[in-house]
Structure formats: structure tokens, C-alpha cells
């Protein structure tokens, strides 16, 4: 029996590997976007793909996001499986009309005759010192659009598994890549990646009894850190990584909240009209009699994304999370 050394890999490397494996497995998979070919993408996620599969399979497109997604729709109509890269979160906005008026609706419009298996990769979120338009958390827009799946990995292994599952999906998937985790490392064996699970299952990253932190993407490591710090306060926090915002895993989330009786939703996106409101409502509707306190939200402020020198005040950090945990009506227990 041969053993393969499990080496640390970055999330970006796992994503590259997922694209490469998907392209090797299925000639219908085409990668397209700005700078994805010769350069390998501004985050190098498509590094080497044009060389390995040719520029017709990994294509530098003109600089026009609506055109990129719009032509991807036509390619999917003809049986291809396009994987589109939107260079940055805020650069995806020109493609919104194609996404909302066509990508999300084509299957429904045609009674299932014309599904569009398109994966739209969107680097998102802050924390990398990006100037304006490079750090948005745009997931609420996507979540509010019926017909799209919305997923986001927080670990190296999930980056691989979720991207493979997204490309394999016959529905369009908005694949949100937490860009500040691109260079996060984890022991991961690319030769034996975990079996690809279907989209839609959350996972408990850390078990605990006191309260549940419900989070996803870039906020998962922050919540893990907060959970460690909370031990000093005597709190044993559970951390649920949603992985998929649409579909939403009510089952895993509610099972956790019923166990702990308290919940805080944590994300970078603003709180007003953000994902946390929907999650808090779902948890309250389903777990009301198990709750010891209202479900709280820890989020970015409802301001345009700040300039890089101020972003640390905006992003939810360990202190803001612990402050919220402290407001979960613990007095009632004493």
C-alpha cells in the first residue's frame, strides 16, 4: 500500500486542482473570464489550465462581464459546462442582468428543457487591503434570486469538493471564493480528495454546548478563533459552517441551536437586508421554544465597503463576536 504524503495546500491550489480535474473529467467544461488564460487569473486560480487544455478550453475573454456571462449562457445552451470567473465581487455587477434575467430563470422558463449548468466563480469579501470595488460581500443579492445555488467554502478541502460539486451541478451555481482565505493552508491530499458531496449541507466545525455561531466563508476562521477565546469566559461555542446559502441547511443549523439554545449569525455582509436576517428568522421560526435569547447578528456595518485603512473597524472580529455572545441573556441561567 502506498501512502501519499499529506502536504499543506492553499485554498487557491485546491481550487485550481478542482478546475483541472473537472476539465480532465469532462471535455464540456470550459473556463472563461478576464486574464484567466495566459496569466492564470489575478489570484492564479486558473494557473496552467490554458497551457494544459488549450486556450479554447481556458479562454481570455474581452473585458465585459455581461458578455462573459451572456456568451456562457449560449455555450451552456449548446451543451457546454462553462465555469466563468468574475475577477472581483464588485466587477460581477455588470453581469447581473444576464444572471437574474436569464441564468437563474432559463430552466424554469422552458419547463426544464433548457437547464444552464454554469458555475460563476466570484472572489468576494474583504480583509486583503483592497481599494474600492475589491472587497464587497454580495451574497445577499444572489440569495434573493430564485434559481441560483449559492455556495462558499471556508476550508481547503471544501474549496475542492464544493467547486467540483458546483461544476457537476445541472443548475447554475454562484461560487463565492473568500479571497482572504486564498492563501490559507491546510493539510490536504489532492490525490485522495474527499468524495464530492451534493451541495446544500452545512457542517459543524466545532462542537460546543453554550451557543451556536452560524457563519460561512471568510468568517468561519474568525468564529473558530472567537470560540477558542470564549473558553476563557467560560463559554463553549459551537461553530456551524453553512457552506451553502442556497439551498439552506435548516436541519443542521436548527439541530445545533436546539442543543445550545442560543445563536449568533456572523458574516461580513451588512446586517440590514443581509443573510443574517433570513437566517435569524428561520432559526426563530423553527427553534423558538428552544431559544434562551433572541438570535443576534454580527455583521459588517451598513456602509459602503470602507477604504483599506479603515476596513478593520468594519469587519466582524473576535471582540465583536464575543460581545454579542455576552448579550445572549446569560443572567437568566444564574
Amino acid at each position: 500500500m502506498t501512502t501519499v504524503a499529506v502536504k499543506p495546500a492553499t485554498m487557491a491550489q485546491a481550487l485550481t486542482r478542482a478546475l483541472r480535474d473537472a476539465m480532465a473529467a469532462d471535455p464540456a467544461v470550459h473556463v472563461m473570464g478576464e486574464d484567466v488564460g495566459t496569466l492564470g487569473g489575478v489570484f492564479r486560480v486558473t494557473d496552467g489550465l490554458a497551457k494544459e487544455f488549450g486556450e479554447d478550453r481556458c479562454t481570455d475573454t474581452p473585458l465585459a462581464e455581461a458578455g462573459i456571462l451572456g456568451t456562457a449562457v449560449g455555450m451552456a445552451m449548446y451543451g457546454l459546462r462553462p465555469v466563468v470567473e468574475m475577477q472581483f465581487d464588485a466587477f460581477a455587477y455588470p453581469a447581473f442582468e444576464q444572471l437574474i434575467s436569464h441564468v437563474s430563470r432559463m430552466r424554469n422558463r422552458t419547463r426544464g428543457a433548457m437547464p444552464l449548468p454554469i458555475t460563476i466563480r466570484v472572489p468576494y469579501g474583504g480583509g486583503i487591503g483592497g481599494v474600492e470595488h475589491h472587497s464587497d460581500s454580495s451574497e445577499a443579492y444572489y440569495m434573493a434570486t430564485p434559481g441560483l445555488h449559492v455556495v462558499t467554502p471556508a476550508t481547503v478541502a471544501d474549496a475542492y469538493g464544493l467547486l467540483r460539486a458546483s461544476i457537476a451541478s445541472d443548475d447554475p451555481v454562484v461560487f463565492l471564493e473568500p479571497k482572504r482565505l486564498y492563501w490559507s493552508k491546510d493539510s490536504w491530499n489532492p490525490e485522495e480528495p474527499a468524495p464530492v458531496e451534493p451541495i446544500g449541507r452545512a457542517v459543524v466545525r466545532r462542537s460546543g454546548r453554550s451557543a451556536t455561531l452560524i457563519t460561512y466563508g471568510p468568517s468561519v476562521p474568525v468564529c473558530m478563533e472567537a470560540a477558542e477565546a470564549a473558553r476563557a469566559e467560560g463559554w463553549d461555542l459551537e461553530v456551524v459552517d453553512l457552506r451553502s446559502l442556497v439551498p439552506f441547511d435548516d436541519e443542521t443549523v436548527c439541530a445545533s441551536v436546539r442543543r445550545t439554545g442560543r445563536a449568533v449569525v456572523v458574516h461580513e455582509s451588512g446586517s440590514f437586508g443581509g443573510p443574517g436576517g433570513e437566517i435569524a428568522a428561520r432559526v426563530t421560526e423553527r427553534c423558538f421554544h428552544h431559544l434562551e435569547a433572541p438570535v443576534l447578528r454580527v455583521a459588517g456595518f451598513d456602509v459602503p465597503y470602507p477604504p483599506p485603512m479603515l476596513e478593520r473597524h468594519h469587519l466582524p472580529g473576535v471582540d465583536r463576536i464575543l460581545d454579542a455572545v455576552g448579550r445572549l441573556q446569560w443572567e437568566a441561567e444564574s
Binding site: 455555450m75 422552458t110 428543457a113 437547464p115
Partner: protein, 381 residues
């Protein structure tokens, strides 16, 4: 040779050197719209083709009249007519091979019908019982696109994909003069030219975007001139001259099929009816203008040519009229039947498998429907 190889490898250029990437001269449209009927070119036109075009135009006119009538009877929610534009609509469908694809806008149901889709299925969107009433793969007709020009990049992507697969497929995409102001028009033409995709863009310049005339839409010398900026040929044609439209579109399709890349065709026509049955055209244009265009009507032009050359007589005109009446009667009968609706269809095709959230909502609707069907005694509704 791959598409990218054909485009050529990146070549560094020394600083002062510059040369145009494409010679603009052959891309420029002619100064006058191309015409066949009433010109010397008509003698070369195939009589059989002209007779077929005539029958199709008469059917198309009758279809427009019948669909408009159906809005008055409440059988269609709305109908954007192509009365006066039938030459463009039928020619667009006729120039394509079975394996080719048509990308219509919401106004182009006549082209969809001419391509072979059942009229009642083509009109589902406008009746309101479902969005797309036909399987796009059956006749290779994309769904009618309501957001303007957004279907153009789809046509480019499909044609590009077919070419990558080595398939001999051309896509013909239809848009109006108003649609040329949309960003997607620009992006589609740019992608098509960069990829040398086998696409034909047909712009029907019918004079108005609802109420806004072309002069407020563009300052371009013509819409066909826009092609030059993208590096593709632009062609100007009299959109009411069915023989000319057929010839220009056929040439563009042949050019695309041979690997020559995309063409932009501007067909100059006129929207004789209001934007839809819900519009009042008297608010923005006068009768004299409409009457002038009725003199330049596609059926009038073709009928004059055919009768002058002895290719059509009273019996032929009557036969075409009868054929159109038969089509209209069948359409009336189909549209007078109430569509079968199933509210559960709302959830059936949002995803391949409904999400848990949609399954819950589906059960909610099911319960509401059951309660509607059997109201319980003593409950307040």
C-alpha cells in the same frame, strides 16, 4: 486549428509602429439600402423563391391581424405586432438550415412560427400561461427574449460552442433599433467579432422604440455602420423588400458558415401598428407617415413584381389568401381553448431538484389548493 490559433499568437509591437488591425473599407455598408424588387436584380431572383416569400408574407400579415384580434377578445394578454415587418420576420426563418439556431426578441413570434413552431406554442408567453411554450431544442429556437438585446450574447456563445465542437451551425439573432442602444448589443458584437463566431445579427430598424424615434436613439450614420467599429461587415437592406432581405441574410449566413465570422444587417422597415395593442401611437406620430409606409409595404412590393412578371395571377393571390385564412382559423381554434394550468408547476422547474425551502412552499400551496377545493364548514375565508 483552434479558434485562438486562427486569431494568431500575441505579437509584441515596437513603440512607434501602428497599423489598423482590420481594413475598414470592405466592412462599410453601402450608401443606399440594397433593393431587389423593382430593380434590375429582380430578373435574377428565383421565381419559386419569390412565390414562396409571397405566400409567407400573406400568412404573416394574417397572423399579425389574428394575434391582434385575439388581444381584443382577451385571449392574449398583449401582442407586439410585426405588421409591415413581415419580410424581415419570414426571411430570417427561411435563410436558416434545420441545424441552425434562431434567437428572437419578444416581437419576433412571426419568425418563430415561420421557423416551424406551432403558433399557439409561440404565443404562450403573450397569452400568459407559461413563459416559453415550446422546447427550444425541437426547432432550435431560443426562448423569446423580453430584456432587450440580452439574447444576442447567447447567440454568440451558442455559435462559438458549436464551432468549438466542429459543428456546422449558424446562429441568427434578431433585435430592434432600440435594442442597439443596450450594452449587451455592444458586448455581443464585440465578442462575436473577436471570436469570429458564425452569427448573423439582424437589426430591424422599424423607426421606433415604443415612442422614441431613431433620431433620439443614435447619432451613428446608420445602425449598419456600427459593425465597422467591431471589425465585422455591416449591410444595409430595404427591410420591406423580401427578396433583398432574403438575399442579404442568405449571404451573411453563407459567410458565417464558411468561417468568415459575423455580419451585422440593418433592415430598414416600419412598425405600422402601435408598439403593442396597449400603446397609442397617435401620441408620437402622424397618420401621413404611416400611410406613406403603407405604399412601401412588403406585400405590395412583392405582389407588384410578381404580377408584372406574370408569376402571380388572381388565382394565385386567392390561393395565398385562402392558405392564410386556414392558418388563422386554426390559430383561433387553438387560442380559444382555455390553457390547462397546474399551479404546482411554479415549483417544478426552478431547480433540477427543489430545495428543501421550495418543497416546504410547495406543500403550503398544495394545502391552499386543497382548502380552496373543499371549504370546511364554519371556517372563515
Amino acid at each position: 486549428m483552434t479558434v485562438m490559433e486562427q486569431r494568431g499568437a500575441y505579437q509584441p509591437t515596437p513603440p512607434p509602429a501602428w497599423q489598423p488591425r482590420t481594413d475598414p473599407a470592405p466592412l462599410l455598408p453601402d450608401a443606399e439600402p440594397y433593393r431587389v424588387l423593382g430593380t434590375e436584380a429582380a430578373a435574377k431572383a428565383d421565381p419559386e423563391l419569390l412565390r414562396t416569400l409571397y405566400a409567407q408574407l400573406v400568412r404573416g400579415r394574417r397572423y399579425n391581424a389574428q394575434a391582434t384580434a385575439l388581444t381584443k377578445q382577451g385571449r392574449l394578454a398583449v401582442y407586439p405586432s410585426t405588421t409591415g415587418q413581415e419580410a424581415c420576420e419570414v426571411a430570417a426563418a427561411m435563410v436558416l438550415q434545420e441545424r441552425d439556431w434562431l434567437f428572437p426578441s419578444y416581437r419576433d413570434t412571426l419568425a418563430v412560427v415561420a421557423r416551424g413552431v406551432e403558433p399557439a406554442q409561440a404565443l404562450t408567453l403573450l397569452r400568459g400561461d407559461w413563459h416559453t411554450g415550446y422546447d427550444p431544442y425541437e426547432h432550435r429556437v431560443a426562448p423569446l427574449s423580453t430584456p432587450l438585446a440580452t439574447q444576442l450574447p447567447h447567440a454568440v456563445g451558442l455559435a462559438h460552442a458549436a464551432r468549438l465542437k466542429g459543428d456546422d451551425v449558424v446562429a441568427l439573432a434578431m433585435v430592434g433599433d432600440g435594442g442597439t442602444s443596450e450594452g449587451d448589443f455592444h458586448e455581443a458584437l464585440n465578442f462575436a467579432a473577436v471570436w469570429q463566431a458564425p452569427v448573423v445579427f439582424l437589426v430591424q430598424n422599424n423607426g421606433f422604440a415604443i415612442s422614441v424615434p431613431l433620431a433620439k436613439q443614435t447619432a451613428a450614420p446608420s445602425l449598419a455602420h456600427k459593425a465597422v467599429g467591431y471589425g465585422m461587415p455591416g449591410r444595409l437592406v430595404d427591410g420591406n423588400d423580401a427578396a433583398a432581405v432574403h438575399e442579404v441574410l442568405s449571404d451573411a449566413v453563407r459567410h458565417a458558415r464558411a468561417g468568415g465570422g459575423p455580419t451585422l444587417v440593418e433592415a430598414i422597415t416600419y412598425r405600422v401598428d402601435a408598439h403593442t395593442n396597449a400603446d397609442d401611437a397617435t401620441r408620437y406620430r402622424g397618420d401621413a407617415e404611416v400611410e406613406a409606409w403603407r405604399e412601401h409595404d412588403p406585400i405590395v412590393l412583392l405582389e407588384r413584381e410578381l404580377t408584372a412578371r406574370g408569376l402571380l395571377d388572381e388565382a394565385g393571390i386567392e390561393a395565398a389568401r385562402q392558405d392564410a385564412e386556414t392558418m388563422a382559423a386554426a390559430l383561433r381554434e387553438q387560442m380559444n381553448q382555455d390553457p390547462v394550468l397546474d399551479p404546482m408547476d411554479l415549483f417544478a422547474h426552478v431547480y433540477a431538484e427543489p430545495t428543501p425551502q421550495l418543497r416546504e412552499q410547495r406543500e403550503q400551496l398544495r394545502a391552499e389548493l386543497e382548502a380552496e377545493a373543499e371549504p370546511e364548514e364554519g371556517t372563515h375565508r
